[in-house]
């Protein structure tokens, strides 16, 4: 890990932060860093401490102890201008029009936006016709898109999205996903928090999983999946397979059957048996659990779930 003072490749560096409310410790000894240009997932169940962690990153609340470095420096007065933050609890002034909202929110970030820029942004998400409508006239999904535009209107280097897909219909979810990938292409660092694991698998390079205020997983998505790999294979086949040697259990999944192997059996042994029996195999895959399964495994069995 690199030092903080110098210009580094690190967008956010969180070091051993703690936060306690009353007797309840909400965040305990959380550390992670987010590289520049990376899409980073902050995941965990509801109430795990995700939002509290983000608020400490945003300097909205102060950690009881520990440090946060954003874009290579400690939080300063103008640091907020370089971050775009879409909170989980979000709303806009209902009486303002869409363009007034964008202008005022940008001015709070210290920049003046031109009408052309506003038109351009609204056009991009197909909302130009609603430019002069009031926020209260918007549907929920449209409001969320406006909020996303508010988040990125000042062209921030770091974008933090807390549960960005909550309450969005599938069409808008896809639209927002596209917008996030666009930001990534522009080289922005993106942190997004969610409890929907499939979104993480689609978008994130690395992730930090938090449960009950503490770290449960941290690292590259692929590494984590590898670490939690079961000795199993996913097979989609035609015909009757019979019983396979070395298989302790088989489970029917949506699109495949998962075969769990005993410790003396490798996936190659199974493949060999299938070829020998001339079974038509449409899919053969080394069993990597979905993030969701890993999550359930860890969060479901408290305390001793960690290996």
């Amino acid at each position: 890990m690199m030092n903080n003072g110098q210009m580094s490749a690190i967008a956010v560096d969180v070091k051993n932060i703690y936060k306690t409310y009353g007797k309840k410790t909400v965040v305990s000894d959380v550390s992670f860093s987010v590289g520049k240009g990376e899409v980073f997932g902050l995941i965990g169940p509801n109430g795990a401490g995700k939002t509290t962690t983000i608020r400490m990153m945003m300097d909205i609340i102060k950690p009881d102890s520990g440090d946060v470095y954003v874009l290579g420096e400690k939080f300063r007065e103008d640091t907020k201008n370089k971050i775009g933050y879409l909170p989980e609890e979000r709303g806009l002034y209902k009486k303002q029009t869409v363009s007034e909202t964008l202008k005022y929110m940008a001015s709070l970030k210290g920049i003046t936006v031109t009408d052309e820029r506003i038109d351009e942004m609204l056009e991009h998400v197909g909302m130009l016709p609603h430019k002069n409508k009031k926020i209260e006239e918007m549907s929920r999904g449209m409001g969320q898109l406006i909020q996303f535009l508010v988040t990125v209107i000042h062209n921030p280097a770091l974008v933090i999205l807390d549960e960005p897909f909550a309450g969005l219909d599938p069409v808008n979810t896809e639209l927002l996903k596209g917008l996030i990938l666009e930001l990534k292409e522009q080289g922005k660092s993106i942190i997004f928090s969610t409890h929907q694991m499939n979104q993480v698998e689609e978008l994130c390079d690395r992730l930090f999983m938090i449960n009950k205020g503490t770290e449960v997983l941290y690292g590259k998505l692929d590494d984590i999946k590898h670490q939690y790999r079961e000795n199993s294979v996913f097979i989609t086949y035609e015909g009757n397979i019979g019983s396979l040697k070395g298989v302790t259990e088989s489970r029917q999944r949506d699109e495949y059957t998962e075969f769990f192997l005993d410790s003396n059996t490798t996936p190659q042994d199974i493949l060999q048996q299938l070829i020998d029996r001339r079974v038509t195999v449409n899919r053969f895959e080394i069993g990597t659990p979905s993030l969701h399964e890993i999550f359930i495994r860890i969060a479901g069995v408290n305390g001793d779930g960690d290996e």
Binding site: G22, E89, R90
Partner: protein, 405 residues
């Protein structure tokens, strides 16, 4: 700094564009001009109507009450006896009558009869009867100038002096109290309009969930400072509009209505003290309201929460009779110095008495200290509660959290 300015401008302009703000600001001057206009209109048409003549009958049982029968528009008419007097009254020849009984000289009892219900005997009639009796009793016994003095022994005029012996600029009395009285009401209205907008705004931002978006761009201190200043300037605009129109209204009332209001003027030092106490009072209550606003989960809950402080501020109104009668009592002095009641009490007392300078200075100093203390406490409250949604915390939780913050 620039962000405070951005919020300041936003809050100021959204407030002065609010319909309720414009209505409140213009309602007071308009009402004043309407009343004066209406009054002079009525006077203009009514002034020419002839004064009604009042005919009062009397039954003179002891005899000798025969002369001096006219007093202004009241004419006294002797009656033959009680039955005749009653008949004349029912026929409308006289409107009322009174009986001087045989033993009048020893008892002074006089009974008056009338057909209409009334609150009290009219002062004109009372004066006429009184002078009629005095004049007739003393007829021929003493000089007429002595009769006048016995009937009206004094016309009292009081003059308040300064310690140097000159005539004081503030002469007290009804007119000097009416101005502070109206002003204390306006001052409280102005303070609570502006700080109420602040409370409502914060509550709405929490309710709409705009709060966290705002806090991702500005710090809570910048947000509150910008809001307090923006709404304060809006309130100041309101107060200045009221003060300027009040000066005009007072002058117009003094010349056109006259009578009780003929001495109505508004002294400059009164205006200055008024503005100072508006600013101090507003700052104090705005910060308290902001604190309350950040604790409540919704705008309505915040409003209920702040009612406690609003009530404290208007406590002097409950004691208005006491303050009017004993403006220098211990209680009046306490209300002057206690920060929450100071703005209202100072304005009320100023009309009736000269508040000692030390009390004014102590009162202002204490208010400033309280404001500074409240800012410190409010800072903690904002950090702790601005982003708490769902339910309003209980008092015990609030105290515990503040201790930790």
């Amino acid at each position: 700094m620039n962000k405070i300015k951005t919020i300041f401008k936003y809050e100021l302009f959204t407030t002065i564009k609010r319909k309720s703000f414009i209505l409140m600001t213009l309602a007071f001057p308009l009402l004043g001009f309407l009343i004066i206009g209406g009054f002079s209109l009525i006077q203009g048409t009514d002034g020419e109507t002839p004064i009604e003549e009042i005919k009062v009958g009397y039954v003179d049982e002891p005899g000798g009450f025969d002369n001096h029968l006219t007093y202004g528009n009241v004419t006294l008419i002797p009656q033959e006896g009680q039955q005749a007097a009653f008949d004349n009254m029912t026929e409308g020849i006289i409107s009322q009558y009174f009986v001087i009984p045989e033993n009048y000289m020893t008892t002074g009892n006089v009974t008056r009869y009338t057909l209409t219900r009334e609150l009290d005997v009219s002062s004109q009639v009372y004066y006429a009867i009184e002078r009629f009796l005095v004049n007739n009793i003393l007829e021929g016994k003493v000089d007429s100038s002595i009769v006048d003095r016995v009937a009206s022994p004094l016309y009292l005029s009081s003059i308040t002096l300064t310690p140097e012996g000159g005539e004081s600029g503030q002469q007290g009395g009804f007119t000097s109290f009416i101005v502070p009285y109206i002003f204390s009401i306006l001052l409280i209205m102005a303070i609570f309009t502006s700080s109420g907008f602040l409370l409502q705004g914060l509550g709405e931002e929490k309710e709409n969930r705009v709060m966290e978006i705002l806090l991702s761009s500005v710090s809570s201190t910048q947000l509150i400072t910008g809001k307090v200043l923006g709404l304060g300037v809006a309130g100041l605009i309101q107060v200045v509009v009221w003060l300027i129109s009040a000066k005009f209204i007072a002058e117009m009332a003094s010349t056109s209505i006259g009578g009780l209001l003929s001495g109505l003027t508004i002294a400059t030092d009164f205006l200055i003290i008024g503005v100072i106490y508006f600013i101090l009072g507003y700052l104090l209550f705005a910060i308290i309201m902001a604190g309350a606003g950040s604790i409540g989960a919704t705008a309505r809950e915040s409003q209920q929460f702040s009612t406690v402080f609003t009530l404290l501020a208007v406590v002097p109104f409950f004691f208005i009779a006491h303050i009017m009668e004993f403006p220098d009592s211990g209680l009046s002095q306490f209300f002057t110095i206690f920060p929450l009641t100071a703005p209202l009490t100072v304005i009320m007392r100023m009309g009736i008495t000269d508040i000692p300078t030390w009390q004014l200075i102590t009162s202002m100093a204490l208010m400033i200290l309280t404001i500074i203390g409240s800012i410190f406490l409010a800072g903690k409250i904002f950090r702790t509660f601005l982003l708490m949604y769902g339910k309003t915390p209980k008092l015990g939780e609030i105290i515990r959290m503040l201790r930790q913050a």
